[in-house]
């Protein structure tokens, strides 16, 4: 039977990262569990703060409306899932986990005045060609009705638990661009300020080098949320927003993008114009 852990408030990511780092060290000494804990984390009565929302909207290029952008709901809710990931019985170490994909289903608008209930669980621990993947599922309800559901897929490289994989991906061919993101050196610090995600790989070149990156890298959710903002109001009240993070964006850096109509939906991609290698690909599909 699923155990429900009710937290009094959304935990701060900083403390969770510290706890995750400690657990990661322990993992080096002894191997951890190989199955997901049958547990869900719940925080009730979450409220957004207007100035926090405005700072987020301005940074990402959203209009400062009273509707919470889907990426902002992720910012509010995802620390609850992170709390689950730093349990000692969670099978993958937080440090070194790579955010490889994210899928959000926005079922109805979430407003600044809404009181949110957040529920987080882990699902689908599965093998991947370069390690093990897991989905963190976060659900946000207003007055008992599901309004937003996020599935964040993480990869633990070099951790092989069970099974075999047979995956091939289509080679990326850069399309005609529609725009460009010029990302300044402080992009990671600025997104950290509105998201609370102060993972050192995003903050400075020095702290990123400690984790094997030549420079700081942009938050994946920053790039995905920029793409969602570029789609704009045409996404409607209810939509699917999915993204795959292929290659990190080094900061400072320039991402060439295409955000364009694709039938009734929008397809987006960001890539390095020089190498032609993709950083992210995804889509926004209005739900009718």
């Amino acid at each position: 039977m699923t155990t429900t852990v009710v937290l009094p408030s959304v935990p701060a990511l900083g403390g969770l990262f510290a706890r995750g780092a400690g657990l990661s060290l322990q993992r080096r000494v002894r191997s951890g569990p190989t199955t997901l804990p049958d547990v869900e984390y719940v925080v009730r009565g979450v409220r957004a703060d207007a100035s926090h929302l405005t700072a987020y909207q301005h940074l990402l290029g959203e209009s400062a409306s009273d509707r919470l952008p889907a990426g902002f709901v992720h910012v509010l809710a995802f620390p609850v899932a992170t709390a689950l990931m730093v349990r000692s019985d969670f099978p993958l170490a937080l440090v070194g986990l790579v955010h490889v994909a994210n899928r959000v289903t926005q079922l109805r608008p979430v407003l600044l005045s809404d009181v949110l209930d957040v529920r987080a669980s882990a699902a689908d621990l599965r093998p991947h060609r370069s390690g093990t993947q897991v989905d963190l599922v976060t659900e946000v309800s207003v007055d008992g009705t599901l309004a937003w559901r996020g599935v964040s897929t993480y990869l633990a490289r070099g951790v092989f638990l069970a099974g075999s994989v047979d995956e091939t991906s289509d080679p990326f061919v850069p399309p005609t661009p529609t725009g460009r993101w010029k990302l300044a050196g402080d992009t990671g610090r600025r997104y950290a300020a509105v998201s609370g995600d102060r993972n050192p790989i995003h903050l400075t070149a020095l702290t990123a080098k400690a984790f094997g990156f030549p420079r700081a890298i942009a938050h994946g959710m920053y790039t995905a949320s920029r793409a969602l903002a570029d789609v704009g109001a045409a996404r409607g009240d209810a939509f699917d927003w999915s993204v795959e993070f292929v290659k990190p964006v080094l900061l400072p850096g320039t991402v060439t993008v295409r955000i364009a109509h694709d039938g009734d939906a929008f397809a987006f991609a960001g890539w390095d114009a020089r190498s032609g290698k993709p950083h992210l690909t995804g889509s926004v599909t209005p739900l009718s």
Binding site: T176, T178, G179, R180, T256, A260, H261, F266
Partner: protein, 445 residues
């Protein structure tokens, strides 16, 4: 107290609004002879030239509308300030307009409509831009900190506001031609459209050369003698290269579209330079023209604005006129063949060519314009007959007034020369940032 009752039907009758003349200062290249001249200086000079040419000293004009694309925040009443500094009556009302590069044409359209409705008897439309004296703003973060500081009451609040300022926030932000939503420059956007339509550098250079040759010929023939007033030592547009050649143009290196996997074809020679300048157009009713002994040159028949979703890759940034013109002509029961002159603002030579290519494309006509086939071909001998922005330069908001004054004079000349009652018509098309376009039909008076 009793409410006043309307004495006549609220639906006003529509009469004709005429272009009666125009005046501009020669257009300079950025950093040239107008480097220290402000927008207000240049607009005032252009208005005063118009006043002198048409004897309007001390005249109370119905309304003056003008604008600038690059505008200082202190210039919130740019046009009114220019009027106050001009020889017009200080009782002449004024307002500012801003619609990117369509600003100048929009002032002509909106003032003409007021005249048509009987709200105005006379008006002056205009536009000005200086890229030499462009506004420099402080960064958003410094601005917010300074605004917080101005609202702070206690020493603690003041210190907190100041503490938010980082050294890099002190760097000023200069305006650029980048689109706010895509962060691509206008040239890069046009390069995408140029590649999409497969326009060659040679074709673009031919458009550029024709623009220089026609503008030079117009100056040589004295056509601009009553349209341009010298300013700061300039008597002709500084960008004009009468001795240009296809060989010289072909040697220029591509400036835009370098990151595309198609050949880069757009050079400084077939793109407009950053420019400084101002233009004005005198508009009025038949009665006002008669009372002032002025000869109507042309009337503004109709106008149509358009916009494209360049943000999501549907169409090129500067392609809105390709959609607006077919709507405008259809509403007036006209085809391209019914037009005697076609003025397409040369933001880039490629802008003209991609617009013509779209109109000649069967597929574009069917799928994007909803027609049965191609919209039609433009007879090149009707196109930009006295040159356009590639030769004259393009001080953004001043371009509409330059085109309207030039083509109105030409329409009147042709009509008088023909001696027949057959209408002589011109199409004017101006593309603008933000995926905007503004188009209009004029008819010789």
């Amino acid at each position: 107290m009793a409410r006043p009752t309307p004495t006549q039907a609220v639906t006003p009758s529509v009469r004709k609004a005429y272009v009666l003349g125009g005046n501009r200062i020669p257009f300079a290249r950025a950093g040239g002879p107008y480097v220290r001249a402000s927008n207000q200086d240049m607009l005032t000079a252009a208005i005063d030239g118009l006043v002198a040419r048409y004897g309007l000293q001390g005249e109370r004009i119905g309304e003056v509308a003008a604008g600038a694309v690059l505008k200082h925040s202190k210039d919130f009443n740019l046009t009114r300030e220019a009027v106050l500094g001009s020889a017009l009556s200080a009782e002449t009302p004024a307002y500012d307009v801003q619609q990117a590069c369509a600003t100048g044409l929009e002032t002509v359209v909106s003032l003409s409509n007021k005249i048509r409705l009987g709200q105005l008897e006379s008006a002056i439309a205009g536009g000005v831009d200086s890229t030499s004296d462009a506004p420099i703003a402080v960064s958003n973060r410094l601005r917010r900190a300074l605004l917080d500081l101005s609202r702070a009451r206690s020493v603690g609040q003041k210190l907190a506001a100041v503490a938010k300022i980082r050294p890099k926030d002190l760097a000023p932000s200069a305006p650029n031609t980048g689109e706010p939503r895509t962060h691509l420059s206008m040239g890069e956007h046009q390069a995408l459209t140029t590649a999409q339509w497969g326009i060659t550098q040679e074709a673009q250079d031919e458009v550029a050369l024709a623009s220089h040759q026609k503008l030079a010929a117009a100056y040589d023939s004295g056509f601009f003698d009553d349209l341009v007033t010298p300013f700061r030592g300039l008597t002709r547009d500084a960008n004009l290269r009468a001795d240009s050649s296809l060989e010289k143009l072909a040697k220029l290196k591509p400036a835009f579209g370098l990151g595309l996997d198609t050949p880069a074809t757009m050079t400084a020679g077939n793109s407009t330079p950053l420019s400084d300048g101002a233009s004005t157009v005198l508009l009025g009713s038949q009665e006002w023209a008669d009372a002032h002994d002025l000869v109507p040159l042309a009337s503004l028949v109709d106008a149509e604005a358009g916009a494209v979703d360049f943000v999501h890759g549907d169409d090129g940034l500067l392609m809105a006129p390709a959609f607006a013109v077919p709507r405008l002509l259809a509403r007036n029961g006209l085809t391209l063949a019914d037009l005697d002159y076609i003025e397409i603002h040369e933001a880039f030579a490629a802008t003209v060519l991609t617009t013509l290519a779209a109109w000649e494309s069967e597929e574009f006509g069917r799928t994007r314009l909803g027609l049965e086939g191609a919209f039609g071909s433009v007879d090149r001998t009707k196109l930009n007959v006295h040159g356009s922005s590639l030769a004259a330069g393009h001080p953004f908001a001043a371009t509409g007034g330059r085109i309207i004054a030039t083509i109105s004079k030409e329409l009147h000349r042709r009509k008088a020369e023909s001696g027949s009652d057959k209408p002589v018509r011109a199409l004017v098309s101006v593309c603008a940032a933000g995926g905007l376009g503004l188009t209009a039909i004029l008819e010789a008076a």
